[in-house]
């Protein structure tokens, strides 16, 4: 690999001169020197802007200025810059933002022959000159990306590929970068994330960075861009504006014939929830079936042989002809019970479901199962809340030497870090209390590890799924209550040997989680 040559594309339209100067200076200050800066003036009203541009052009031969004869908008200006680019990669820099001095050097360090797109962490630059609100981004997360244009700045794209996909599209102005990156990443061989803040996004009143409500037309453009993205990938579904500014919601549909096997291991336990007595498994399945329109379902209940006949009869009345009963007469082993259920199942997709849950979201099965129709997705998990609506599970976090739940115990009113509690996203793992896998994935990974009868079998499963190259997704819109540990009192405490077992297989997760880098 020869050293990369970067073309920095900067459309310019009437920025404050000192701001523009700082921006260009940040380029000139780069430790990596093999770059060109293409400044395209989109017919700024004031000549001072153009004077300044030419001043820099004269100062450094790597700076080139293109003057558009008339204003064409950011996409046209960007395309002019793209046309002039001679670099192997294009880096997108707005006319008021700053590059960190080692930005290009860091990018150059990760460039390889198969890398087509690189993005970095970013923060914001206040009017007072302070940096704040660092966005510590996840490693490449296509599912999250189609819910939020999280890669944003700094984005560095292989020039050849950008030209191949047709460059910027003016009809998506406002979200022209989102639209471009969607099209590039659909074709990209490898996407690399640099977990370093290499870009400072300047807050100027009226800019998108300062006021997310400032550019609603951008969200509508993004919505269209995403719909086209889904259509191109043949993902069946529609795009809606998301619950927070800058987020989107993908409503997927699934083939009604897709057979879903819900596997529920149970001991037939009962207890109090919200002051009322209930038999967990009965209410779990009642709510599970009430909250879905998908009909091609079988429910496999793996029950301990001591379970009362009355309870099984009650299950039959709730689940009717969808019910398959599998008796289990061995000592407690959650993994083995699930595996037994899997062996008895016939679905294209299996959903492992604890019996101490209650479904909240309508169409939870569709939400959970639909992303699995993308072959690169191996497993999906749900958003689980405790009885008091605090968070039980919002995806796993493996880092700093421990395996744990993200956002555990905090209120579900939280939107998370950069809205990551509101949208679907990639994660290292999900809980087996409610997760879905395609049949062949479950088979390939050998199901749940029976050497882990109580804890960490889901951690191990998640590792296995990702080891085979599949993505694991946390699904924000598949919400359930999980009355955890009410049904299993003997396995709430994690044993040292369980930690040792997982550590022996997968090593201790030193450093940061690749997806949730939240301190």
């Amino acid at each position: 690999m020869t050293e990369p040559f970067f073309s920095i594309l900067t459309p310019v339209y009437e920025p404050p001169l000192d701001v523009l100067r700082e921006t260009i200076e940040s380029v000139l200050a780069q430790s990596f020197t093999d770059w060109e800066l293409i400044l395209v003036d989109d017919r700024s009203p004031s000549d001072a802007v153009r004077f300044l541009l030419h001043e820099f052009e004269e100062r450094d031969p790597r700076i080139r200025v293109i003057e558009r004869p008339s204003r064409g908008g950011i996409a046209h200006a960007s395309n002019d810059a793209l046309a002039a680019a001679r670099g192997t990669f294009v880096a997108l820099l707005d006319h008021d933002d700053l590059l960190a001095p080692h930005a290009l050097e860091s990018v150059a360090a990760v460039v390889a022959d198969d890398v087509d797109y690189i993005y970095t962490d970013e923060d914001k630059l206040g009017p007072d000159g302070r940096f704040f609100d660092t966005f510590r981004k996840p490693d490449w997360s296509p599912e999250r990306f189609r819910h939020q244009m999280y890669t944003c700045h700094l984005s560095v794209l292989r020039t050849e590929l950008v030209r191949q996909v047709g460059g910027f599209r003016p009809e998506f102005d406002g979200s022209q970068d989102y639209d471009l990156v969607l099209r590039v990443t659909e074709k990209a061989r490898r996407v690399v994330h640099i977990p370093d803040t290499l870009y400072h996004w300047r807050m100027i009143p009226g800019s998108a960075a300062a006021d997310p409500h400032a550019k609603p037309y951008a969200y509508v453009a993004a919505q269209r861009a995403l719909q086209e993205h889904l259509d191109r990938l043949n993902i069946k579904g529609s795009v809606e504006i998301g619950p927070a500014p800058g987020t989107y919601r993908i409503k997927r549909t699934i083939d009604p014939r897709l057979r879903v096997s819900i596997i529920v291991p149970t001991r037939g336990a009962s207890g109090e929830v919200w002051g009322e007595h209930r038999v967990y498994v009965v209410e779990a399945l009642r709510s599970a079936l009430e909250h879905t329109h998908h009909d091609s379902i079988e429910v496999i209940v793996v029950y301990d042989v001591e379970t009362s006949i009355t309870l099984l009869e009650e299950l039959k009345t709730v689940v009717e002809d969808k019910l398959i009963l599998v008796a289990y007469d061995e000592p407690f082993n959650f993994s083995r019970k699930c595996n037994r259920g899997f062996i008895a199942s016939s679905g294209d997709v299996v959903v492992l479901l604890n019996d101490d849950i209650e479904v909240i979201s309508d169409d939870w099965i569709t939400e959970l199962v639909a992303p699995l129709t993308e072959m690169s997705v191996g497993m999906t998990g749900a958003y689980l809340l405790y009885e008091n609506s605090s968070i039980q599970h919002a995806g796993h976090v493996y880092g700093a030497g421990v395996w744990t739940h993200a956002y555990h115990g905090i209120s579900s009113d939280n939107v998370g870090s950069f809205c990551d509690l509101l949208i679907n996203r990639e994660c290292v793992g999900v809980t087996a209390a409610c997760c879905a896998l395609r049949r062949e994935v479950y088979e390939q990974v050998g199901g749940l590890c029976e050497k882990l009868p109580g804890n960490y079998n889901d951690v191990d499963l998640s590792y296995k799924v990702r080891k085979l190259g599949y993505r694991v997704l946390w699904i924000a819109n598949a919400r359930l209550f999980h009355f955890e540990s009410r049904t299993r009192t003997d396995a709430t405490d994690i044993q040292q040997w369980e930690r040792d077992f997982v550590a022996r297989r997968w090593g201790i997760p030193e450093g940061e989680d690749p997806y949730l880098r939240i301190g």
Partner: protein
């Protein structure tokens, strides 16, 4: 049929047989009257019969005096008398007259019919003349025709079996005999209440026309009735024949149908037997198949169990494999880390050695310069300022000593 022919038929041999009073003793009355009922006024049957006869006789002829010729035990006399008629009777049987009921006995006499004398409004002669020889009968008719203008006659024309019926004649013969004596039948009265052949004769001066009218008057309705009855009979016969034929046909049909049905029944029965056999065979087959099915099901269940078990084991084996692979990778990465640190250590060691060497060289050079210094010192020792020089050089001597020990 003509009158001549009737006469010709009547010309039967009539041997002059005569019965006597003793022929009509107790045994006669016990056995010859056709019924078991004793021929006695005490018998309700006979009393009722004769009372009826007496009432009809009174109604038709309204007589004051009646003579019953051949009155036997006087039952008709007694019956007439009870109707208020002055009736008397004669009979040839002493037994009969003497065994008569005491109420009527005084009005009866033992006498033959041919000896009848006196004058009466009516003479009745019931079943008497056939018991008399033809000549006695002729005399009796003469006697009666002298004693009365009306004579009620009944004489059986057909009972030839009764041994005392020595002179059985047809009514026509008796009617002719009376006609010879100027007595003609009253064709307008019907004495069927007594016998079918009973006739009432009356002395009359009748012209041929009257006689012919009287009989034709009877004849025509009889002929019409006969013709109609013949036609009806023929019709009945034909209908009967037709019905018979139908019946025969029906019977034949029934037979044929019966035969067909029988055959069908036969077929059905054999079919049934066949089907029963088949059903039994099928039942056996079904049972065998069920057994086989159960066996197969059991084997299938076994195989499912085995398959599930194998699939479970395969699943756990995959887990073990992937786990082992992961473990190996973890070890490899640790090994590489250790390797890397080992290399780093070796590098550091080499660097340290080099550093040590350079230190040693430095030390050596120090040694040399010290030795040079020592030489100069020795030279200095000889000099005046040696004491001061010693104090300066001493620490170097110590360092030199340490360097030598290493």
């Amino acid at each position: 049929m003509t009158a001549t022919e009737d006469l010709a038929e009547d010309l039967r041999p009539t041997p002059n047989l005569i019965t006597e009073g003793t022929d009509y003793a107790e045994a006669y009355y016990r056995t010859h009257l056709g019924i078991d009922e004793p021929y006695d006024w005490a018998s309700p049957h006979w009393r009722s019969f004769f009372t009826t006869v007496a009432r009809h006789i009174v109604a038709i002829t309204n007589p004051r005096t009646v003579l019953d010729v051949g009155c036997a035990r006087g039952l008709l006399v007694q019956a007439l008398r009870e109707q208020g008629i002055d009736a008397v009777g004669v009979d040839v049987s002493e037994f009969a007259v003497h065994s008569a009921h005491r109420d009527v006995r005084p009005y009866l006499r033992v006498a033959s019919a041919s000896d009848v004398v006196g004058s009466y409004d009516l003479i009745t002669c019931i079943e008497v003349l056939e018991h008399m020889s033809p000549s006695d009968a002729e005399r009796a008719i003469d006697a009666m025709c002298r004693a009365a203008d009306r004579i009620l006659l009944s004489s059986s024309p057909s009972d030839f079996v009764e041994p005392t019926h020595v002179n059985v004649r047809e009514p026509a013969a008796w009617a002719a005999a009376f006609a010879e004596r100027g007595f003609f039948r009253r064709t307008d009265v019907d004495l069927a209440f007594l016998t079918p052949w009973a006739m009432l004769f009356e002395r009359a001066n009748l012209t041929h026309r009257d006689v012919v009218y009287r009989y034709e008057h009877q004849l025509y309705p009889l002929r019409v009735e006969v013709l109609e009855k013949r036609a009806a009979l023929l019709d009945s016969y034909r209908r009967a024949t037709e019905l018979e034929e139908k019946l025969a046909a029906a019977e034949l049909g029934r037979d044929v149908q019966g035969e067909t049905l029988r055959q069908e029944n036969e077929h059905l029965r054999s079919d049934l037997e066949h089907l029963t056999t088949e059903r039994d065979a099928l039942r056996d087959l079904a049972e065998r198949l069920q057994d086989q099915n159960r066996e197969l099901e059991a084997r299938l269940n076994d195989e499912i169990r085995v398959s599930r078990d194998l699939r479970s084991r395969l699943l756990t084996s995959r887990d073990h494999a992937i786990g082992a692979e992961a473990e190996a990778a973890t070890w490899r990465s640790r090994f590489e880390t250790l390797n890397a640190s080992h290399a780093e250590l070796a590098q550091a060691h080499a660097e340290l050695r080099e550093y040590a060497n350079s230190l040693e060289q430095q030390v050596q050079s120090y040694v040399w310069s010290l030795q040079a210094l020592e030489r100069r010192l020795t030279e200095l020792h000889a000099s005046e300022s040696w004491k001061l020089g010693y104090a300066i050089v001493r620490p170097f001597a110590l360092l030199l000593g340490r360097a030598r020990r290493r």
